[in-house]
Point group: C2
Amino acid sequence: MDEFRETELKKRISESTIRRLSLYHRALEIVEDNGSETVSSKELAKIEKLTPAQVRKDLSFFGSFGTRGLGYPVKDLKAKIARILGIDRVWNIALVGVGNIGSALVSYKEFARQGFKIVKLFDNDQRKIGSNHKGIVVSDIKNIVSELSGSEIEMVVICVPGSVAQFVVDDIVKAGLRAILNFAPVNLKVPDDVFVRNENMAMELEYLSYALVNNHSKNRVK
Amino acid sequence: MDEFRETELKKRISESTIRRLSLYHRALEIVEDNGSETVSSKELAKIEKLTPAQVRKDLSFFGSFGTRGLGYPVKDLKAKIARILGIDRVWNIALVGVGNIGSALVSYKEFARQGFKIVKLFDNDQRKIGSNHKGIVVSDIKNIVSELSGSEIEMVVICVPGSVAQFVVDDIVKAGLRAILNFAPVNLKVPDDVFVRNENMAMELEYLSYALVNNHSKNRVK
DNA sequence: TCATCTATGTGAAAGCCTTCACAAAATAGG
DNA sequence: CCTATTTTGTGAAGGCTTTCACATAGATGA
């Protein structure tokens, strides 16, 4: 692992490579369920609709995990990718905004399955504060800075309306947290050492809309 | 518009450009609310944390919308982008899988606001079939092919477990639909003329996990 | 009307990412 | 043990995207 850390300091690894690591991890779960001991870059590529060269190149940034002529050891590679991604542990997460989307995410099994554990909820609505969602009592957002500061929570999911998202983020930053998953449709301003990922579901539909309207078929003659 | 269609046939426009068009559209709403008549590429870039050159280059693929020395006419540019994206109309959408996420999306205001109208729900769970969500009665997924074929519905949102997503997609394709927003954590196999966008929320948390573990700060000395 | 200023539109350059193609390493089979 | 086969790991090439930098065109003000 330390070898990797050092590599990372020398060469910045692209966002796309990291995102594909998640895909490889997922593909390896499938292969593992099939009972295979090893898997080739070709097979992994097929599962996620990528190219074998891409798979090999991506993995090569982090080390040599395969055996020539044979492929990659499934269990081992999966563990190594989990280690690189930092998902070989549990992450405690707070969620702000217990509306439609927010409360759906509290019960979202895929988060739990990957070790992302929502352990605290915040809202500003008096009717919601004190109510119980899957065993978690909703806290008043007024106390967010003190309740997050120095807590075991390291990530926050934001499901509040766009108009208040920036205020919430300012508090999260004040509390010293550095990772935010944002469902509000606004560009959040944060210091350079804070990471934000945006989940913009309407934008994906807009892309589909564009594709349909422009008949943007993949196998169209150019 | 036809000028644009023709341009499009000559030069394929990148996915990133289209995604940024959505951002520009959103930024223009903000500028419009502020009461400005015109806006510069610099201002648009600031709102979405991009560069002015990027904004101008992206827009230039579709035409010359600005006035030198002045900027872009807000209302007009917003309408033109909406036209390009195909969001100057209502899209009727079916949603399959009325679980946590699915039912949250039925009430998701951002979809409605952008003209994405969920008009039909499907599920395979007998307890859910026939139940009412925001005025829509859940249909039996068995009838999905016949109910979608030739209907006014052109997009489908999939919120079913990964293990059944491919079967659902096969039916959607059979019904002749060509646009799918997929929340299941699997890579769906579709013909080349069908568009799929994947919404993988756990993957975004994995990216944050990676960033934190590798202290991947943006202003770090290389 | 003219000079100054502002901001677009866009070729060209730079940078980044993906794909190619092949040497190297290990397996498998006889 | 040796040959044929498989599949990795990786420089180099190719292709795509972003950024640069400036000519151009219109606005603004005296």
